[in-house]
């Protein structure tokens, strides 16, 4: 019953249409964190100094308009730091750009992204009052607009989730983020928690979520940089076809020994996945699981909301290196030692077959680069791994490459995301130099997100293509042209420089699609296992 395999997420009717004028004036501060904002291997420096972009209001006097924090004394971002000293009376709390709240249907606070839940008890009660007031009238509140702020509600009896945001993200996106927040909670506790409320409406759920602050703060971070959060698709680490096959083969062996799901991951990217017969995994579950998993070896109960929201599975996790990890899911709570043995076996095979070193190589090389977009008809070999062969740093070719800095790909192509509808997978190009900054990348994702919402708008859509100029895209100089193309087989989202010619852009998109097709064996996980998505 849970084997949801929707290629296309059904949205509620859209109440707000993205008109392309996103006046997002953000001031953000760049703070070091453990969360590598995946800015691709485009620049070699991005691997080490990962930055975290914290949402911060633009009218705070301590933050300059270009996003540089002036008074940066307390700027160290700690995962899970929720500024518990704040409450709804604090100016800093009110200026946070995006709040998330979870409360029970009796108005008791369960979670707040910022501030201390107990101090926000009155605020929480107010939210409950709004929801139940509308409910008493036989209606349901979806969102409220108040000036620049949008208040989005999601009712999952007996739990209420609320987002208050001035990020100008469309209603659908924010609602999806609330769905993810709920899913993350279910992943930690299962939906069985509802029974506690049935037995006792005064039930206090907060203690059950103890120690999970990091999981939630990292989820909110995910909303800003991981396209999986709005595409409902997952992405793979580019690998030579034979390497992925080799990895899949050993995972399959283990799966046959009673493991429900076996997955080899690199950060949030899939290397290979195997499920037991008929067991299927939803991309959203994969995102929540990858977000929950911590470093080092662990064994913990988790629930996959789209698989079975009522019950726990047990996850054995082992990291082979900082980025690469294995997840084995089983229904048995006593399987630790069996899973450990499986892991040892897998590790042996992966080392022998060079899979782990290929993963490292792929991480260093990065994936699709717009600069490498082939000219068709092409005589070049159609493997990503020839194209990206490491070049001599001092070679003449490299100098040629440098001349392109600041330009991006052909016809002003800066970036693209290609989503394969049948595989529920997407591939995203590396960021080219014009969008090397975190803020630009975040804005680009927000623009894609908006585009996604308007493309799937039931009221005015669904559309086939959209070509739009992002006029006041940002307060600063960044302006892009976006092109979106939706067919039965794929969705393409592309960003071009502001002067891009429409005809040329369309031709370039055709080349991108051809390219993706040519290398699909390397960038997508082509299944070959009894997977029903």
């Amino acid at each position: 019953m849970q084997s949801v395999s929707n290629h296309y997420y059904q949205h509620q009717p859209v109440t707000e249409v993205g008109n392309g004028s996103s006046t997002e004036i953000e001031s953000e501060r760049l703070i070091n964190s453990k969360y590598a904002g995946e800015n691709g291997g485009a620049s070699a420096t991005s691997v080490s100094g990962a930055d975290y972009v914290q949402e911060f209001s633009n009218n705070s006097s301590s933050v300059a308009e270009d996003g540089v924090l002036l008074g940066s004394a307390k700027s160290q971002w700690v995962p899970g730091n929720r500024h518990v000293d704040e409450d709804d009376a604090s100016v800093s709390w009110r200026e946070r750009k995006k709040h998330f709240f979870v409360l029970s249907d009796s108005g008791k606070p369960i979670y707040s992204r910022y501030g201390d839940e107990h101090k926000l008890a009155g605020f929480s009660a107010t939210l409950q009052a709004i929801i139940s007031f509308v409910e008493n009238g036989g209606d349901r509140v979806k969102f409220v607009r108040a000036g620049k702020h949008q208040v989005v509600f999601l009712v999952k009896e007996p739990i209420y989730l609320v987002c208050i945001s001035c990020t100008e993200e469309p209603y659908e996106s924010l609602r999806r983020q609330l769905e993810f927040l709920y899913g993350q909670m279910i992943l930690i506790l299962t939906k069985s928690v509802n029974r506690c409320f049935q037995k006792n409406s005064k039930f206090d759920m907060r203690p059950l979520l103890g120690g999970t602050d990091v999981v939630f703060s990292s989820l909110f971070h995910t909303f800003s940089w991981n396209p999986a959060s709005f595409l409902h698709a997952y992405t793979c680490l580019p690998l030579p076809y034979a390497t992925r096959q080799a990895a899949g083969a050993i995972l399959q062996d283990v799966a046959d020994s009673g493991v429900l799901f076996t997955m080899l991951m690199c950060k949030y990217k899939v290397v290979s996945l195997v499920g037991a017969q008929k067991a299927s995994l939803h991309p959203d579950d994969l995102l929540l699981l990858a977000n929950f998993i911590m470093t080092s070896e662990s064994f913990s109960p988790i629930c996959l909301p789209r698989y079975n929201p009522m019950a726990f599975l047990h996850a054995y996790v082992h990291y082979f290196d900082v980025n690469t990890y294995l997840v084995l899911l089983t229904s048995s709570a006593d399987a630790f030692f069996h899973l450990k043995d499986c892991r040892i076996l897998i590790e042996k095979v992966l080392l022998k077959s060079d899979v782990l070193s290929e993963i490292q190589r792929s991480l260093l090389q990065g994936g699709l680069r717009v600069e490498n977009l082939p000219v068709y008809p092409s005589t070049r070999p159609t493997s990503l791994f020839h194209l990206n062969e490491p070049r001599l740093v001092t070679g003449p070719q490299e100098r040629l490459q440098e001349a392109f800095v600041g330009i991006g790909g052909p016809a002003g192509l800066w970036h693209f995301i290609y989503r394969n509808m049948y595989l529920d997978q997407y591939v995203s190009s590396e960021f080219s130099s014009p969008i090397a900054g975190h803020q630009q990348q975040k804005r680009l994702y927000r623009a894609y997100q908006k585009l996604y919402a308007s493309m799937h708008d039931k009221g005015t859509g669904p559309h086939k293509t959209q070509f739009k100029r992002n006029e006041n895209y940002a307060f600063s100089v960044v302006i892009t042209v976006l092109l979106c193309w939706v067919t039965q087989d794929f969705e393409l989202y592309a960003a071009f420089d502001p002067l891009a010619d429409k005809g040329l852009a369309i031709r370039t998109c055709n080349r991108v699609c051809q390219w993706v097709k040519d290398v699909e064996n390397e960038i997508f996980f082509m299944g070959g296992s009894p997977f029903v998505w």
Partner: protein, 206 residues
Amino acid sequence: MASRRRMLLKVIILGDSGVGKTSLMNQYVNRKFSNQYKATIGADFLTKEVQFEDRLFTLQIWDTAGQERFQSLGVAFYRGADCCVLVHDVNVMKSFDSLNNWREEFLIQASPADPENFPFVVLGNKVDVDGGNSRVVSEKKAKAWCASKGNIPYFETSAKEGLNVEAAFECIARNALKNEPEEEIYLPDTIDVANARQQKSSGCEC
């Protein structure tokens, strides 16, 4: 096991309009009193942290409107309440007579698991007015009613002078604590793959 953890108590204040519910709450939370009457619209919410017997409590106080047009706040407002405070004005007999209705309405809407022992507190407010000369509800009368409803604690208060307000709310915390349910072990289902895939097995079907 988690007896040391912070508790959040939902406290609902009910009573006829003008008996001083908002003033009591303001006196308690902000230590302020105003002679000006301003009707509460719908409901107001205040938060107060208290320490009691080495434990930290957060009182989430739901100050409701006494006017009849707001009396259909419904199930949602009363749901999950830990304590209910019934307020009357000792100088207005009708406000005392209404207590019965307020109590019954609350029990119907909130439908607590154990209505007999649900913690109520009754406050007779405005004892300061006119030096007590305009008083019509005697302490004896109020106490008799409280006794007949399962020994509800009774306090004579003055929101204006801060009389007994602190003591009344301390009693609220104590009562709610007494009513704290047994800590249960949280046990969700596990999946029995061998038998029926994706069928929940009975981890706890209570």
